[in-house]
């Protein structure tokens, strides 16, 4: 064997070693050893071979528009650039005119924004938008444009006066010539001061601005969501929407409030009368004047909900191509791609919530037979609005907006979850400290309410959130070389809460220590007091108010042992448990049923009612799980028993009446929930 052979053998051996070192072994991509192998370490983030996300995103926008539309994007790179690609390179949808807010890539709708002052720019934007919305082309925007419900000529005139208040009269005359806002022609002239002729004429390519005689129908507008975009809708169509909600019939007095809820604008009688005639000529409704008081009675002929025939707003989400969930590594793609998933979730959520609001109003006017169906739909859409966000969080664990949504939805339902998600925002972005404070408050309140369950743990969580806030704030001020940490409002507030939480933690820790060898203490106390019932009851009440629950429970046990037949003590004990330890309360009450140890304070009907209520609460708390179904079922049994027991009674006081109502309501709720399952 010569040296050359050795070299070859050595090279082969090492070649194998480095092959393994780069490509790794096995095919399991979630292995914790992945970071040991070069290929596996970087594969998930960089395998883009199935990354159609932005491509589909652009396509989804394109397919959601009516022919001949105007489409305005909010200016984010993903939206603007994918649409640019399809519009310019693939020449899709040549009938649509695209615009972005900044005019970097699409025609400059607002002139040269880099060289226009911010004050003037906002006026120019309002004027141009007003003009665009006034064409007879459908206009879509991809964000909730602010103040769209205010846009009108008089609003523009006011803004102009506000903006140019205090300028000298000579200059004012120049501005008046520049901004002629008295009629549509004036508006056109104003726009031409800013916009290139060619861009201006682009809008007129198909159809034109509405005629002067239609002027009274222009502005304001409201936004209706269709999938990923909002359609700018003239104010008058709110009447059609309101009629739809009201079951197809109504007049000004009855529709007024619903219209305001949909559009954020109050509609005057004059507007109403004007619009209804226009709508009738467009075929949306018929109306008859009431001979009696000359008011209009409207009847809906067709709803104004569908952009394309037969496709409602919710159907868009089935039409869209959203494939990323099926791809093995889509969660690891780059930050900008992940943003698109979050967009889907946020817009889908918004769509469901709009639908829920719509249905919640509708249910008031629906005939009795349809109500149940509507209620089920409301529940379904509410659930779905939460589901889409939570499902997306798995892909997008660092999206601030999604965490905010989950945090705010669970504010009352599940404070721990809510606090966790709100606090996560601060972890993602150290500058975004605001919600840490809220999270700390939520969890602190929650810990006060549930002192027996994870009391100390929750307090420590609150402290952790506050710590994170203070640390972030310190980093913030330090990194910017500026003082102001001490004066910062959030820091001041957090420090205050911190003091309270610290004290509570100290007390709680003392209590745990106290209860650790409380058997000795208990002996000591009991020896001091003896078996004096009144003194022991007073002590226990005192302990309860001092939140020393462990010790209180022990004293209760002693009291029960000493006075086994005392109904009052037992009643107090059950109440104590109900507030502090639901599980134990359930077991104790179950025991009462089994041993039939009923008494005046704990009569059979009361026990059953309590148990029904307790199980109901537990079910609500664990909603969505198998456990909750069991609790619902148990709860229903107890409530039914209770109702049967009460039925036998001859006289019913007001308290019992209330309890009956609660039982009936709960049972119907349970029926609904279980039937859905």
């Amino acid at each position: 064997m010569n040296k050359r052979t050795i070299a070859i053998v050595n090279a082969l051996l090492f070649g194998l070693l480095f092959f393994i070192l780069t490509w790794g072994v096995g095919s399991d991509f979630s292995s914790e050893f992945d970071s040991f192998f070069q290929y596996k370490k970087n594969l998930k983030a960089n395998d883009n071979s199935l990354n159609w996300v932005n491509y589909n995103y652009g396509k989804n926008f394109l397919m959601g528009m009516e022919p001949n539309s105007i489409f305005m994007t909010e200016g984010g790179d993903n939206q603007v650039f994918s649409l640019l690609y399809f519009a310019l390179v693939e020449n899709k949808r040549p009938d649509v005119d695209f615009f972005d807010q900044k005019g970097n890539v699409f025609p400059r709708l607002y002139g040269d924004i880099l060289n226009t002052s911010a004050r003037e720019l906002s006026l120019v934007q309002d004027i141009r938008d007003f003009q665009l919305y006034s064409t007879d082309r459908p206009v879509y925007v991809t964000w909730r444009r602010a103040n769209i419900e205010k846009l009108s000529l008089s609003y523009l005139r006011n803004r102009k006066n506000e903006l140019f208040q205090g300028v000298n009269p000579q200059f004012k005359a120049v501005l008046d010539r520049k901004y002629q806002l008295n009629n549509l022609d004036g508006l056109k002239r104003t726009a031409r001061n800013y916009i290139d002729r060619s861009i201006y004429d682009l809008k007129l390519r198909s159809g034109g601005y509405l005629y002067e005689q239609d002027f009274k129908y222009l502005g304001p507008w409201y936004l209706k969501q269709f999938g990923l975009a909002f359609k700018v809708t003239p104010f008058r169509y709110a009447i059609v929407d309101a009629l739809d909600i009201h079951g197809g019939r109504g007049d000004y007095a009855s529709l007024q409030e619903t219209i305001a809820a949909i559009t954020k604008i109050n509609m005057s009688v004059n507007q109403f009368n004007l619009y209804t005639r226009q709508l009738a000529s467009e075929g949306y409704l018929s109306f008859s004047e009431n001979d009696f008081d000359k008011t209009l009675q409207l009847a809906l002929l067709k709803p104004f909900d569908e952009v394309f025939k037969g496709i409602t707003a919710l159907d868009y989400w089935n039409k869209y191509k959203i494939f990323y969930k099926d791809v093995y590594n889509s969660y690891a793609w780059d930050f900008l791609t992940l943003e698109i998933y979050a967009y889907y979730a946020r817009y889908q959520r918004s769509q469901y919530l709009t639908q829920v609001n719509f249905l919640k109003r509708k249910i008031n006017f629906a005939p009795q037979g349809e109500k149940e169906g509507l209620l089920a739909m409301i529940n379904e859409y509410t659930l779905k609005s939460e589901e889409v966000v939570e499902e997306n969080l798995a892909f997008n664990p660092n999206n601030v907006a999604l965490h905010y949504y989950v945090g705010s939805v669970n504010f009352n339902k599940d404070p721990e979850k809510s606090a966790k998600h709100l606090a996560k925002i601060n972890e993602i972005d150290y500058k975004n400290t605001r919600w840490s404070l809220t999270a700390a408050k939520i969890i602190y309140q929650h810990s006060l309410k549930n002192q027996n369950e994870n009391y100390l743990e929750n307090l420590q969580k609150a402290k952790g959130y506050l710590d994170k806030l203070l640390e972030s704030k310190r980093t913030f001020y330090r990194s910017r070389n500026s003082g102001g940490y001490e004066q910062d409002k959030e820091v001041v507030e957090a420090s205050k809460i911190m003091a309270v939480v610290d004290e509570a933690i100290l007390n709680a820790e003392k209590n745990t220590e106290f209860s650790r060898d409380s058997s000795a203490d208990e002996e000591k106390i009991v020896n001091q007091i003896g078996n004096d019932k009144e003194k022991l009851v007073a002590l226990v009440k005192n302990l309860e108010s001092n939140k020393q629950f462990t010790l209180a429970e022990k004293i209760y046990n002693r009291l029960l042992a000493s006075f086994p037949d005392d109904e009052e003590v037992f009643g107090d004990y059950v109440n104590f448990l109900r507030e502090n330890n639901l599980d134990k309360a359930v077991t104790v009450l179950n025991e009462v049923i089994e041993t039939e140890k009923y008494s005046q304070a704990l009569s059979e009907d009361k026990v059953k009612f309590f148990l029904g209520k307790l199980h109901f609460e537990k079910a609500e708390k664990n909603s969505g799980t198998q456990k909750s179904i069991e609790h619902y079922e148990k709860s229903r049994v107890f409530f039914n028993d209770y109702l049967a027991l009460v039925n036998e009674k001859t006289s019913i006081d007001s308290k019992t009446k209330n309890q009956i109502i609660i039982s009936e309501k709960s049972i119907s709720h349970i029926d609904l929930v279980l039937s859905k399952r």
């Binding site: 070299a7 040991f36 983030a45 883009n48 790179d77 399809f86 943003e339 990194s479």
Partner: protein, 519 residues
């Protein structure tokens, strides 16, 4: 005692000997290029991806002007790929990124070959270790991620190893050539300058990449061309004033450029271009003076050029150097030319104003990226420390798998023993680049900022990757030594021990052995 280059080389570049790549090396590099290209193509984004992709693709398709600073080389060269007859246009332009990424790997492996063959002789082992290094670099997180989608970073990245390679060739020539006149390797330096200029048409961070170059150049010129001459003081005697004059004009020109054009708070259009005019005027006058100086010696007083006077040679070289940078940078005239063709995508609208000052103002707004407001952190000890910490623990650490960092450390040790100067220069380059870029970008501490800045540090990852083949080779030597010991037993033991005497056992494949057994 007189300074001797040989002593210096013995101490600081002990095992170094010059090496020119042969056809076989380039062939292997070409195979690696093809493999990398196929690898990137397999993971390529099939359509338009998130980020700038759609915009850059549209600019490429219409030969338009992309977002500031315009990225003319990307637009021009990627256009070729749009003529591929299949696939959607976005995919074709994505493929261009893969091509540039593979080209980056190609130039990187040339650098590895050059360094490895300068220190070692066992061809098989050099090829194997260089290929392992190339694979590690090709699969480094950021280069890979940029090679599978349309972005401007791969075409910018390929200039790093390419310029590094040119610099290595220059160093070889400067070390070897000994003439009566000073030899400054101008041919290579001017090629380097041209590449730098044209590279600015990609991403402009390349300018920071080259900050260490001045030190690199000074070291080799000083130790191998100047100090080693017997009467070296005579080579420094005259023309100091000329050099100071040239440096002053260069400094003045750039001071005016930065003070009046780059730094402006408001925009360049106010007060009849009151910022733009003095900035441009002084800049142009300075360079016209420099040009006049150069032309005087080139055309009228060629005989009075002092070829053996360092300062005179440097004065003339500096002017030529900047001339070549400008020549490369002239690729930015693309923006002027194409903007006036009114393509559908015309970012910055350079053609929108009719006056030349107006056009210039728009042009400078474009190339200085004034449109994108930045809100950076102030520079402070705490901030820079935190930023560097994040750079190491999050950005750099994510590039390679853990074993490769260990291997790179081994390579560093190898370089320490064999060619200390390179180690110093590489580490210096690494530190200067990271510090300078960090001070320039001033990024914030959150993950989002880290995601956006990791692409600027590709050069830094490349520098780390240089150490990987060195470490691999070291491991190969060690195992070779052990294998020989086991398999050849007594007979060859003597031979082995004779080659390793005086050095540690793992250096059994150093030059002495290689020289005696050329493969």
């Amino acid at each position: 005692m007189a300074f001797k280059s040989e002593d210096f080389q013995k101490k600081w570049m002990k095992d170094y000997r010059s090496y020119d790549l042969v056809f076989q090396d380039k062939l292997i590099a070409a195979f690696v290029f093809i493999a990398a290209f196929v690898f990137y193509a397999l993971h390529l984004t099939p359509g338009v991806s998130a980020g700038d992709n759609g915009e850059l693709t549209s600019a490429v398709y219409y030969l338009g002007v992309a977002h500031a600073p315009g990225y003319p080389i990307h637009t021009l060269f990627a256009k070729i790929f749009t003529f591929i007859p299949w696939g959607n246009v976005a995919w074709r332009v994505n493929l261009f990124s893969a091509f540039c990424g593979a080209l980056t790997v190609y130039f990187a492996i040339l650098v590895y070959f050059k360094i490895m063959f300068s220190l070692h002789s066992n061809k098989l082992y050099v090829y194997l270790s260089a290929v392992v290094g190339a694979i590690a670099f090709a699969m480094s997180k950021t280069l890979w991620s940029q090679s599978v989608t349309t972005e401007v970073y791969t075409i910018s990245a390929l200039f790093h190893p390419l310029m590094f390679y040119v610099l290595l060739k220059w160093q070889d020539k400067v070390m070897q050539t000994q003439r009566k006149d000073l030899y400054l390797g101008e041919k290579y330096l001017l090629a380097f300058a041209f590449l730098l200029g044209i590279g600015l048409g990609g991403h402009q961070t390349i300018i920071i990449t080259q900050m260490y170059t001045l030190v690199f150049l000074s070291v080799f010129i000083l130790f191998f061309q100047v100090l080693n001459r017997k009467n070296f003081k005579a080579y420094l005697r005259t023309h100091q004033g000329h050099f100071a004059f040239v440096l002053f004009l260069i400094f003045l020109a750039w001071a005016f450029y930065f003070y009046y054009i780059v730094r402006y708070e408001s925009n360049l259009f106010v007060n009849q271009f009151s910022n733009l005019k003095p900035g441009v005027t002084v800049f142009v006058i300075c360079y016209l003076l420099l040009l006049a100086y150069y032309l005087y010696y080139r055309l009228l007083a060629q005989k009075s050029i002092a070829y053996n006077q360092l300062f005179h040679r440097l004065s003339l070289l500096a002017i030529k150097f900047f001339g070549m940078i400008f020549l490369g940078f002239a690729i930015y005239f693309y923006i002027f030319i194409r903007a006036h063709g009114n393509p559908p995508l015309n970012w910055g609208g350079v053609n929108e104003l009719d006056t030349w000052w107006g056009k210039l103002a728009k042009f400078f707004t474009m190339i200085n990226r004034k449109q994108f407001p930045v809100n950076p952190l102030p520079i402070s000890f705490y901030n820079v420390l935190t930023q560097l910490n994040l750079l190491i623990t999050k950005v750099h650490y994510s590039q390679f798998s853990t074993p490769f960092f260990l291997i790179a450390a081994l390579g560093g040790y190898e370089l320490f023993r064999r060619c200390r100067l390179w180690l110093v220069l590489l580490v210096f380059s690494f530190l200067v680049y990271n510090f300078a870029l960090t001070l320039y970008i001033k990024f914030d501490f959150n993950d989002q900022d880290l995601f956006f800045i990791e692409v600027f540090y590709i050069y830094s990852y490349f520098l780390i990757s240089i150490f990987i083949p060195l470490g691999v080779y070291q491991m190969l030597s060690l195992s070779h030594f052990l294998l020989s010991k086991i398999l050849l037993k007594q007979k060859d033991e003597q031979a082995v021990s004779s080659t390793t005497s005086g050095t540690s056992s793992s250096t059994s494949l150093s030059h002495q052995e290689g020289a005696s057994n050329p493969s």
